[in-house]
Amino acid sequence: MAEPQDSTQVKTEKEAKMLDIYVMGKHYQVPEGLTIMTALEYCGYRLIRGCGCRAAFCGACGTVYNFKNDPVLRYALACQKLIEQDMYLTQIPFFPAAKPGYGLEKMEPTGEQILKIYPEIITCFGCNNCTKSCPQELEVMEFMSAAIRGDLEQVTAKSFDCLMCGLCAARCPQGLVPYNVALLCRRLHGRYLTPHSRHVDERIAEIEAGKFDVEIEELQKMSLEELKRRFDERPILKE
């Protein structure tokens, strides 16, 4: 049976292992199995900054940590990273980077365009701190090189899962903002470089011409019984 067979498998209070952690230098004990975020709450912190989706989508909770006897900084999303013994935690708020304004409609999807908006990216000297700090494990330096080369396709593919948590920018010694550069590349790619979807245009034109109005009105006017029948009998396409 897929149930915990005996009490050793069910974690009760007494059995839940308590771990020592240090929040901004102060010692706390928290039960094993919490994330950095829920551990902070367990310690009594009410989060305002640094907490959004709580599910690895929004990038609000990018954080750094190290260990009592190991000063090397590690990077993570606080909502995903599990607490470990002797972790040193701190809450770093997201600090927004300056961002130039632009209007996509007046731009071209080229490398020159990217360099016009973000000329400083050529100062990247390849230290790779950005890649090391990415909690999504993206090849940040590689997509920055692709941006410098003007290969928007590559930037889009490699940066697609970027949450814009800001850790790469925080660690860049040149003050570059990889997540904003990649965003511009992806937007230009989405608008100009993906193959055109003609069927969407056609459908919009049909709707504007009123092609479906009669059918929808008919559905709106029919009796509930009839509508239910139509629903049950509608063909379901399998692909």
């Binding site: 915990p4 498998q9 919490l34 009410r46 989706c53 599910a55 993906t194």
Partner: protein, 554 residues
Amino acid sequence: MPYPVYMEQSIRNVEDTRKRRLKEELPRIPVGERMPVLQEFHPDFIETSMRELLVGPNKGDRTPNELADLLEGNSHIDPGKIDLTRIDYDVDVLIVGAGGAGAAAALIAQENGANVLLVTKLRLGDANTVGYQGGTQAADRLDDSPALHYLDTMGGARFTADPKLVEALVKDAPDVIRWLEALGVNWDKKPDGSMAEVALAGEAIPRCHCARDYTGLEVMRVLRDEVRCRNINYVEFAPAIELIMDDKGQVAGAVLVNLETNELSLVRAKAVVMATGGIGRLHIQGFPTTNHYGATADGLVLAYRVGCPLVDTDTMQYHPTCAAYPLAILGLLVTEKVRGLGAQVLDIDGEQFAHPLEPRDVLASCIIRECKEHGKGITTPTGELGVWLDSPRIDMIHGEGTVAQNLPAMVRQFGRFDIDITKEPMLVYPGLHYQNGGIKFSPDGATAVPGLFAAGEVEGGVHGKNRLGGNSSLDLFVFGRRVGKSAAQHAKEVRLGKLTLDHVRQWQRELKKAGLTQVRPISPKLLPDYARQPHDYLADYVTERLHAGQIKVA
């Protein structure tokens, strides 16, 4: 944290039946036969989970206890202490909430000539929108049609949706897709340019547009960037805590609070758009939720207090498949796209018990029945129940690499806990996902109270008592854009009178008349209370709260 040893046998069952299940398809439950399983197992039908409202425009209507408490709550402010002549922001259109609906409304309102202020509780885009994965419906395939989309939506809603709202939804849909693409959203496409569309539950044909399983992220970061590029004025960490009215009965602004310093500021606006999203963080009936940290039903409370009726707030959507294991990601949404691509839902023996693409209310009920009545669920070490979602079947159908390419977020999220969903199934259970109903509004976004508009998850009627996957993200862009236009238009025409907070005083009198004078919860709630309180500091916190569900939050 791979699966515990005692689950191995059950996982082997899943593997053993997989080959046979490749061709196996269970029938769907016909519309007329859905009610029994819903009535017995859907959380909405638990009598004691709801109560009748005693005050306000929906007096007498039933709604979940957690929401009722807040709707009947008292204000954060003392109207006597606020000087309405000291206005901090004076604008045409105030938009409350910067998720997808708010951002879309802001862009369109500005395009229509309005001076816009966008205020939000957390950061710009910290919202349910950023987490949506499965995609956005739009009937743009030539073998599909908006009429079929209409029929699917009505049927999914058990025929309780508002026909005019649904018509607007399905007819605007293809243009929403094109609009987002022009802003730079990268939709998944086939090499010939046609959209790569997936069928979610209750859809007769593949209709969902996605961007891997980071659809909401892709859309939200584009909209956020555009809001910044167009220099739309926005204020973060500044939720609205009360609406301001004028002496002509029109909504005319809002009181904001700085979440960190508690300083209040006042906005006068000719039109106010409510775009505050959902309710998940109220943890209705103790369910874990997929929603973001700020989803606490604020917009419902604010609108209700100025006399705006709500609809269908007696139903919540429990997403059938949220992570049940590991505890750290309990309640995490496992997108319907996983089932859309072919994953089946299985019991402890590795057998199917329901069609994986039943509408959400039906499938959630079937899963609860399988676990609670048939005893065929799997229990986790912390006592959660779950059933298997067989993700490896996807690669068997569509070829190796499909899961990795189409579901990178899911692969990564389970991978962080050493579960490889390309090879192992996921353990799932229903979680609180979506507020089906909300503020009653019309296709142009107007509500019953002049000057107040609504768009997105906060409004109701579009989905009746059950929403189809992919229709909410569509809803927020369709009505976000519509509302941007109407609010800007309204701002051009309206003449505001003298500002007042009399409605708050009036509300307090009503509470008293209804006998609700004892200490009321203060609402809107703004954020859930997850910080452990000092008094239970030493107590058996782990058993009491970890296991009682109060910190079952991921």
